[in-house]
Assembly symmetry: none
Homo-oligomer: 225 residues x 2
């Protein structure tokens, strides 16, 4: 049974979500401020944290960063629509997912389960996307049991994408993660590598189902249906 910590200052929302999440089968601890949240976190060691961004005193981002300095547990941010925050600002502070308020309990629950599942998959050293299996220990990728013989760069690209399945990564981000340098002129570097990767990984490279293009942004690895 997953054990959650909910940090939210608005009494109505906090109590409502606590009730709903408990009914969905989670154990829930709650805190009404960033300070309380951090203290409870250290005491109780929850499996996952749901964290409001707008908090009096220490705000949610800061709570997130402080937790991240020492711990890797999943964190889901709650943001008000009016905050109009780029996904990335949140993810930069180390959160794993974010949900826009007002939030329906069953939506939040779905996100929670998704993030927890993701954690389980990643903790094991291999993960599967359809018939494609990534083995992080052997550093191999197989499709229908056949070794795909990825090149080092292709492999790193796929590994980085698979660390964040379902999340769109910009060319800029991929450049940093895979190539470890900052500046991408207007070269087709990332595109070319994605193309080569698709040629090996996809059933029909011209109609990709695993590595999807996100127009105007970059690419995304779709989790299996």
């Amino acid at each position: 049974m997953p054990f959650l910590l909910l940090i939210e200052d608005d009494d109505a929302i906090r109590t409502g979500l606590e009730l709903a999440l408990t009914r969905q089968g989670h154990r829930v601890a709650t805190a009404a401020s960033g300070e309380d949240g951090l203290r409870l976190f250290k005491e109780q060691r929850p499996d996952l944290i749901v964290l409001d961004v707008m908090l009096p005193g220490i705000d949610g981002f800061e709570v997130c960063r402080r937790i991240r300095r020492t711990d890797q547990l999943p964190i889901i941010l709650l943001t008000a629509r009016s905050d109009d925050i780029d996904v990335v600002v949140g993810l930069e502070s180390g959160a794993d997912d974010y949900v826009v308020k007002p939030v329906q309990p069953r939506v939040l629950d779905a996100r929670i389960r998704a993030v927890l599942r993701r954690g389980e998959r990643e903790s094991s050293d291999s993960s599967a996307y359809g018939t494609v299996v990534i083995d992080r220990a052997a550093m191999t990728v197989t499709k229908d049991g056949q070794d795909l013989q990825l090149t080092p760069t292709e492999l790193r690209l796929l590994l980085e994408l698979s660390r964040r399945p379902g999340q769109a990564l910009s060319r800029q981000q991929l450049l940093r993660l895979v190539w470890e340098h900052d500046y991408l002129g207007d070269s087709r570097l990332v595109d070319a590598c994605v193309q080569r990767l698709r040629a090996k990984v996809e059933d029909v490279p011209s109609a990709p189902t695993l590595i999807r293009t996100v127009r105007g942004v970059g690419y995304r690895l779709d989790p299996p249906a």
Copy 2:
């Protein structure tokens, strides 16, 4: 039901992990110092040890070495990220796996189960890879029943590879495990030894099927199909 011994001096982490691991279905004994840990180990004979590296008094590496002098049970090291330790420094002292703190309980649990599974397979003193048989007790390697007359270094290399079949090991890691020193310039040391080993072990050394090259990484011993 697996019986674990958890050696960790930080009260919060120890209690937290004990709780979590118990919830995951393990029996857990705990110790807060290296001395206590060794004593409990001798008394209780656990199936597996989870061992913090930073301990007052005898540190984790030393505990690991002492246990290894007499016993072969699986040991998982816990290291703080800030220690910035290469995987292999830990593996050198004889540990079977290592996990970076802060650790999610379910990640630790997954590693524990993986190590225990691996241990069951390896518990026999000999293993076969196709027609190649490694006899750890006799310290011999035969192929089609013929003794292969490996040199000491070749044998150590093969043994280290065979302790982690299917897992890619970098040249750096192999250097530490087999040669016990840290710095690999740009010499062909590891490659040369692998080549000599292949010449004896492989059917067609130029097209190896046992000791595979993992480009950009290192080498890997393929488990039998």
